[in-house]
Amino acid sequence: MTTVNNVKTGIRSYIEEYMLFGGSIDGDDMSLLKSGAVDSLGAVELSTFLSKQFDVKIDISEVSPDNLDTVNLITKFVVGKMLCQAA
């Protein structure tokens, strides 16, 4: 069963492995955009990973800082999607 923690860990691992190439995120509320960990095209890459990894549909209009700027925001966004799809 996928828990919120699993989702968060999966998101953090992907960003640290494939976007920071072994670097680490400084807290789950760190702004990924302002720190440069993720840029605008990186946000698209992230959304592609999220949709494949967690089997959720993400529209281009949802690729925004409100949904993708911190690990906590991304987790909330993805979990919300998963719950909607399960309902």
């Binding site: 072994g22 702004s31 840029d39 698209v44 592609t48 990973f49 281009i60 690729v63």
Partner: protein, 653 residues
């Protein structure tokens, strides 16, 4: 165009042999023969690409009494007018070249003669009487000129490989310069990517005499003071067209056929449409890609249909890019962050096969007239700080990044999210370039821990923290001329890859008289309302260039980057060059991070610009190390004795 090489203040038994070896390394720049001058102290060598005065005109060239000698790579486009004036003043010419005006002008005006030259040039002049030499480079850095000092001797050459023909010159990569390339896409002259090797900066000359340190003097730079703020669009158009038409016209002066590159964009279309006023049988060339994301074919066809043009396209595949990439690095002599130079190199081969030696091409228009997205992005980023609720911001964002067909980078929410908040210091003249530099500098994360510990992004960026004249747009234009244009577009993507097939590029938008006019114009004639870029050029070209091209949004030339190497079947060398052992032995990068990057590409995960730049940057650096640091002797060429055109003993001349 040609290659030059030589040395000043060197007395050795092997002077002649070394000179021959040096010039042989740039035979691709001048395949039509060699010329040598040797005296007790000085060796000058020239590899000729015959363009003007095909029958004569062998360099090195001298003045009437053989006290002034010159080797020259480039063209002086106003040589006809200069010659008329010189002959009226009593000078005697023995060739029909543009080169010869240099020595006679020098007799009249000394080194200040450089101000009279309209052209693109790397000149080395030896004044025997005074015992002084000058190394001159044109105002924008079109033609390269490198030098190094060793035991009181100054060695110079068009390309670094000629300097390395001297085994006493060491070949190591400057890791501070590496960080510059990974931030600015190029190295700020006089530094280069190699330790101990210097580049004559654009708009400068180096003065050298024996037992003195070389002195660098800047003779020209952009001047945005005393702008004409009241000039109307109509008046500006008239003045612009007068200079631009002349710029194109004099760049058609050649004893060999002249063609043009035609991308389908406004700049190259403007050049070709203007060429048609002075030239019949226009011949143009362009690149297409298998990958539709990068194609501009439809717009090329609009212009071809409107003028009587004979056009050839070369279709570039992933395999083409991957197979030619190592050769490209050998010619650029620099790491690259993009594969874009590679198709240009292959295109130059096609041009040569088609029987052409000279092409006109559109570089410089965006810098002069505010074409790049970066300039408009700068306006919007400033507004987000000073007037964040402005109703204009959203539609201005929407006008950016037209190449982004998925519309991600111009998502208003993403733009505001990235550029609001910590936006950088608005008072800095380099404010405009911070987003690009920040994205590019991501590659520095792949350096070894030791190199990263020495890297300070803020310190690197501060290289360009200078007080500049003019408006914020002018600051951005100035930086663009001195960073991307001179250190990358004109070198790696320009001169080097064209010269790989002995092709001379000529740049009408880099006529200094055109640039000086544009520098005095108000911002509004370049970018209107934050959305309409290159307004003046569009106005000037109405009626000459199809409206589809005038209305088209700026599309920068791009080619498939990192993914090429993983979609091609010719990529086996990539895994050797980026293996853990190779990375560790070269010593620049962290092998674990590089391995993760390669893994990401192999898995086909969606990649952003910065992943692309990091991959291409790392791969090209590894190749540069292999080709120049480790294995250079393998690629040394010998001079073809049958191609020696003149060999002058200066002590007897």
């Amino acid at each position: 165009m040609c290659g030059i090489a030589g040395f000043l203040n060197r007395r050795s038994q092997d002077n002649k042999d070394l000179l021959a070896s040096m010039i042989a390394q740039v035979s691709h720049r001048g395949p039509d023969g060699y010329g040598f001058y040797n005296d007790q102290n000085v060796g000058l060598a020239h590899a000729r690409l015959s363009i003007i005065d095909l029958a004569g005109g062998f360099q090195p060239i001298h003045n009437e009494d053989k006290t002034v000698w010159v080797v020259f790579n480039g063209e002086i486009f106003n040589y006809v007018e200069l010659r008329k004036g010189l002959e009226k003043r009593g000078h005697k010419f023995y060739t029909n070249t543009d080169t010869e005006v240099i020595v006679h002008l020098y007799e009249d005006k000394g080194i200040d003669m450089v101000h009279d030259l309209v052209g693109q040039f790397a000149i080395v002049l030896w004044d025997k009487t005074r015992g002084v030499s000058y190394l001159l480079r044109d105002r924008f850095g079109v033609r390269p000129l490198f030098y190094t000092m060793k035991k009181g001797t100054l060695y110079f050459a068009s390309e670094v490989k000629s300097l390395f023909a001297n085994p006493s010159i060491s070949r190591t990569i400057n890791t501070d310069s590496l960080s510059q390339i990974f931030t600015f896409w190029g190295v700020s002259a006089p530094q280069t990517i190699f330790n101990g090797i210097l580049s004559v900066p654009e708009g400068s000359y180096v003065e050298f005499a024996a037992s003195r340190t070389p002195k660098v003097v800047k003779y020209w730079d952009h001047d945005y003071t005393n702008r004409n703020e009241t000039i109307s669009l109509e008046e500006a158009k008239y003045e612009f067209l007068e200079l631009f038409n002349n710029s194109v016209k004099i760049r058609l002066r050649s004893d060999v056929p002249v063609g043009a590159y035609l991308s389908g964009g406004l700049d190259s279309s403007a050049i070709v449409a203007t060429m048609a006023k002075y030239h019949d049988n226009i011949r143009t060339f362009s690149i297409e890609f298998d990958d539709d994301e990068f194609n501009e074919k439809l717009y090329q066809q609009d212009l071809i249909a409107s003028l009587d043009i004979n056009h050839t396209s070369f279709v570039c595949s992933y395999d083409d890019i991957v197979k030619s990439f190592p050769t490209c690095v050998f010619h650029t002599e620099s790491p690259m962050l993009r594969t874009a130079p590679v198709p240009m190199m292959i295109l130059s081969k096609l041009v040569k096969k088609s029987g052409y030696t000279v092409v006109l091409t559109g570089e410089g228009a965006d810098e002069a007239l505010g074409g790049y997205d970066l300039f408009r992005e700068n306006i919007i980023r400033r507004m987000l700080v000073t007037d964040p609720n402005s109703k204009d911001i959203n539609y201005m964002i929407d006008s950016l990044y037209s190449w982004d067909k998925k519309g991600i980078t111009k998502s208003i929410a993403m733009f505001r999210g990235i550029f609001s908040g910590d936006h950088g210091d608005l008072s800095k003249s380099y404010f405009s370039h911070l987003p690009r530099w920040k994205t590019s500098s991501f590659t520095n994360n792949f350096l070894t821990d030791e190199l990263q510990s020495r890297y300070d992004y803020n310190k690197v960026v501060a290289l360009y923290d200078n007080a500049l004249s003019g408006s914020h747009l002018n600051h951005a234009q100035y930086l663009e001329y001195h960073t991307l244009l001179s250190n990358y577009l004109l070198s790696s993507q320009g001169d080097r890859v064209a010269m790989a097939s002995s092709i001379e590029g000529r740049y009408p938008f880099l006529d200094h008289r055109v640039v000086e006019l544009c520098n005095k114009l108000p911002d509004d004639l370049k970018i209107r309302n934050g959305v309409n870029e290159k307004l003046l050029l569009k106005e000037a070209m109405k009626g000459l260039v199809p409206s589809s091209i005038l209305e088209r949004k700026k599309q920068p030339y791009r080619s498939p980057d990192g993914k090429s190497f993983f979609k091609s079947s010719c990529n086996s060398y990539v895994f050797d060059v980026l293996s853990d052992n190779a990375i560790k032995n070269a010593g620049y990068f962290n092998k674990d991070k590089v391995s993760r990057l390669v893994d990401k590409f192999q898995k086909g995960l969606v990649n952003s610009f910065r992943d692309d730049m990091a991959f291409v940057g790392i791969l090209s650096t590894q190749l540069l190390h292999s080709l120049f640091v480790e294995n250079f002797e393998t690629f040394l060429k010998d001079v073809d004795q049958d191609k020696i055109l003149i060999d002058i003993n200066g002590d007897l001349a």
